[in-house]
Symmetry: C2
Subunit: 703 residues, 2 copies
Amino acid sequence: MTTVSDRPAAAENQPRSLRPTTADHRVDVAYLTEHLLGRWPEQRLAGRRIGGDPRYSKHEGLSMDDHRARVLEQIRLLAAEEQVFRAFPERLGGSDDAGGSLATFEELITADPSLQIKGGVQWGLFGAAILHLGTPEQQDRFLPGAMTVDVPGAFAMTEIGHGSDVASIATTATYDAETEEFVLHTPFRAAWKDYLGNAGKHGTAATVFAQLITATPGQAPVNHGVHAFYVPIRETREDGSAGDFLPGIGGEDDGLKGGLNGIDNGRLHFTHVRVPRENLLARYGQVAADGTYSSPIDSPGRRFFTMLGSLVQGRVSLDGAAGIASKIGLATAIRYGNERRQFAGASAADEVVLLDYAEHQRRLLPLLAEAYAGHFAHDRLLDLFHTVFTGEMDTPESREDLETMAATLKPISTWRALNTLQTAREACGGAGFITENRLVSLRADLDVYVTFEGDNTVLLQLVGKRLLADYAAELKGIDGVGMARFVVERAADSVLYRTPVGRVVQNLVDSGSVRRSAGHLREEATQRELLTDRVEAMVAELANALRPASKLSRANAAELFNTHQHELIEAARAHADLVQWESFTKALSDVRDPGTRQVLTWVRDLFGLSAVEKNLAWYLINGRLSGQRARAVTSYIDRLLGRLRPHAQDLVDAFGYGPEHVRATIATGIEKERQDEARDYYRELRASGDEPVSEKALKARAR
Amino acid sequence: MTTVSDRPAAAENQPRSLRPTTADHRVDVAYLTEHLLGRWPEQRLAGRRIGGDPRYSKHEGLSMDDHRARVLEQIRLLAAEEQVFRAFPERLGGSDDAGGSLATFEELITADPSLQIKGGVQWGLFGAAILHLGTPEQQDRFLPGAMTVDVPGAFAMTEIGHGSDVASIATTATYDAETEEFVLHTPFRAAWKDYLGNAGKHGTAATVFAQLITATPGQAPVNHGVHAFYVPIRETREDGSAGDFLPGIGGEDDGLKGGLNGIDNGRLHFTHVRVPRENLLARYGQVAADGTYSSPIDSPGRRFFTMLGSLVQGRVSLDGAAGIASKIGLATAIRYGNERRQFAGASAADEVVLLDYAEHQRRLLPLLAEAYAGHFAHDRLLDLFHTVFTGEMDTPESREDLETMAATLKPISTWRALNTLQTAREACGGAGFITENRLVSLRADLDVYVTFEGDNTVLLQLVGKRLLADYAAELKGIDGVGMARFVVERAADSVLYRTPVGRVVQNLVDSGSVRRSAGHLREEATQRELLTDRVEAMVAELANALRPASKLSRANAAELFNTHQHELIEAARAHADLVQWESFTKALSDVRDPGTRQVLTWVRDLFGLSAVEKNLAWYLINGRLSGQRARAVTSYIDRLLGRLRPHAQDLVDAFGYGPEHVRATIATGIEKERQDEARDYYRELRASGDEPVSEKALKARAR
């Protein structure tokens, strides 16, 4: 963390409009840093200590093999020396602390995203599959090796042919009652497991997802759907390293990737591989010795979604980790933007600090607002995750809410991380492209976050469908009379919004006063109304458009649905905006320091109004904003940018990441040192009388 | 290039709406491929042959040192075996063929962007500085070594402290009349040259840009501004490799970068390094033995811009190369999107091809339209470049037009390449992240294109200023009466556009018929009007807003300008849309095959209307489109996407890149092979009667 004296004096040499308007509006950086630690401050700080420990830091430029070896060593070191078992049961050395565990893990991304994801594969997927899909006896049998990393494990769900559509994976696990074994088999090339961390090299076991098939003599075999199996895949050598594949198992290394090269992703295939009956992770489905299948969940569909849903923690932790990556990027770009100068400005001698350029503010400050909104939304997600997974409130409804919230936030925060890191890198110019300044390395590692653990587009579509389902449920809950009124109201709305009448009236009320509109936009109620209304209206419109589907053939219904796929995804994005805005707004009320709260309120306003501005056409077309008021959105954003600019450094400092986390040469103050040296040189040159006169000035004098 | 039989039969298994409407509307792929070769087909094909030659291909996963060594070897091989000297004078073995030379070079990006840029540094910057800033005698002296790469050279312009603001670089070259030498000196750390290709390791000479200072005894020294000097920097060892730095010269290696690691970027500094008077590249400024400075261009400002402007070819070739990178990305993603299936659709058995999903079309097809628009705009840019640099029409106006067009297109095409490659990588899911599928590697290499050779944001600002200047000139050219009328017309416009009157009237005319609006939007004249009007109105509004600047203090004028920086850049983007749309439209008239022309016309419409859709809020706020018509923009785009979808494969095939250029495993048809294998397996399983019945189906039957 930079101390106050390290920080560039932002107000110096700046046009008056850029200076803080009131001395009261100050961020109390120490207070805000602590506040942002959230519900599990110790666990988060523990993760941050690991993240800043050079033993865990990424060494740039390692070969793929060396990087993989280093990361494997690092997670074994984590297991041996750090508190990384909190999510596991107390009886096995854990603390049953779902939320606190993730708080620690998310911070590992500051050390090396490969370490975060290698840990995620080992404990959050391989281990979590055992924990959540296994019986207590299986946990006792398999978890210790997974926890200590004596058994590096792969999470073998995705196949080459099926990623998003898990239900259609083709690997089979057929029960053989004679030997009481399952026979795992890969029927064709598209059914090879792929992209599995630990499969390329280090893994000696895997949780393999396959179609569970039982057979009763004389009857057709029955497919009970996707289940997970604990399958040893490689020998363990005496030194603990992974040896050859076990009989019947084969695979390939995925080789180089766009990032995360500290992880040995790879492919696996199975040729009639036998595992004992007891290796079916049996919490949600078991097979008796005679081949009889039973499950606590009768519906195969609900059983499948329950099993998948129990693995939601991956998405939760990616949301948190991606948010941290964005913060690191902003810490570098805003520090540099506060020091770097280019082109003369108000006076010929004084070059302008980059962050004083309006365009630079436009590029970076809304991303800073998004980072805060994402932070507070993640806090709520983590809280919900903890509530469900500790059993505090584990109901089907809360599980569904959790899954929807994770599916809402993970796409937004991971795309945001890519956008933020790229904008940060561009804002640092050529220096941003040099690996020693970290931005390109982080971005490369984060790239795959947008398609793994649920492809972002597919997740948003799930959210859209959930919104539609909720809307339908709401309609169903209304009685006959209510329904009629509801429909009339909707219809009236639709008339109001579709004709220009609404807009004309609003124009009259505004009577051209942008200032009055701005005052209106600043209000929490206005922002909430704009954001809420958009989600509701989009969902209602979609529901209306899709209504005929129930009467159509499957093919035509699919086509109708496809026609509206884009709007469905847009509705989910609108929902994400609202969720983040509401989380931010709720968080504001917990901020006790008034100066900090004021500045954060501007940040919240910037987030909310930027979301409105991005969708301004929608608000105009649907009569929610007049042209006048739409202009006011942009001009109020401009005003907010000017107001927040002097606080930008404080706002990134409050994230709480020090140089040991940021690890970018240009974010160390070196730029300011160099500029001070240059200024001193020119000052002395002028004083010496040896300063050359420019040809231009000479010519001007001669005229 | 895939042959017709290789291509997936797109129309199979698709809902009717996705099939081509008329058999006549067919892309003649062979014809279009040839047509797209443009004015220099042989030179372009020559570059493509190099690009597909394994000797020049990028080897992924090489260490930085090995990659650098390979690329150095490659450019020496290019010099020895290929026609890469076309841009140079005939008397030195070239062909004075500016445009044809770039047509070849741009295609080198298909081999390895490091090779394209290493060649660009050697011949397009180091060599071009000698060619364009040197006298014929200096060309004879320095060019041969630069051409053969016996002398690998750095282009030492950018300093740590000054990149975009070249005029403020701090390296000095002070003339010493006694020895008839220039003394090059780096006064402080921020004046170190940085990010220079060939400076890290291979370069033995550099064209060094420095403030040229002359002194007459008894008078203050005079700074004549930035000039270029030919400076040997390292020893050449007997084997031709670069040895130690020469006395007074020092430097550092930039080390690992986010991409382009085949290039040895580095830093240089000079401590009183002496070079002969004859090493000042003297075309635009020379110093006599006695220290008298003279130049054919009297104004120091115009001289500076003339010198810089002569180096515009870097931007021109980056525009072309970035466009090719986008095409390669689309070739992979569209081929894969045409084969890959996920989730059941119209029937439970048939999974849907990704490119049949509306969202997938929404993500990829507008980028395909952009690739075409960028292609045709680049053709015009290259043509203009050739016209100017061969002297066919070398006037100050045509030079300025060329520089503006390059500054307009380079930012758009380089950002587009990043966006296209990223979208393509995401559209290929996890497979897109594996290096063997090329997309992540290309994107990493292309990243720096958006900030080097002119930072994109700075370039767009230049374009915005040029638009303002043109507007001011237009105003000046109108006499008193005309001026009065002009102002009245503007005012009337402004009233029309600012009140809702225009919109209300348009609403009445539209009378709710989206279909009629769509017909209107399809018209070339409508699209042109929408795009032109936006540029003109934005520039006029800006000019009006900035008018008070002339009466303000420097500080306040700078602040006023800064307040409108974002709009200035937005105006430049609007101009870029228009330039591309006009180029595309002009190109359509040269397409002789009617089916191809029809499909390309839809592509042009998609490009134009997507540009309108992105800025829909502007059109609504400023009364250019009613809400009804704005909706029609989106629904017509949806219709175009459906129409173009069956032609998507043809449209990427027509780019003319074969597997030897695309080099992505997933773009070889492997995905379809795997799926066919899986389908065969299931077909046989069904036929065998051994197919398991699903538990779900059993339960349904039991009910």
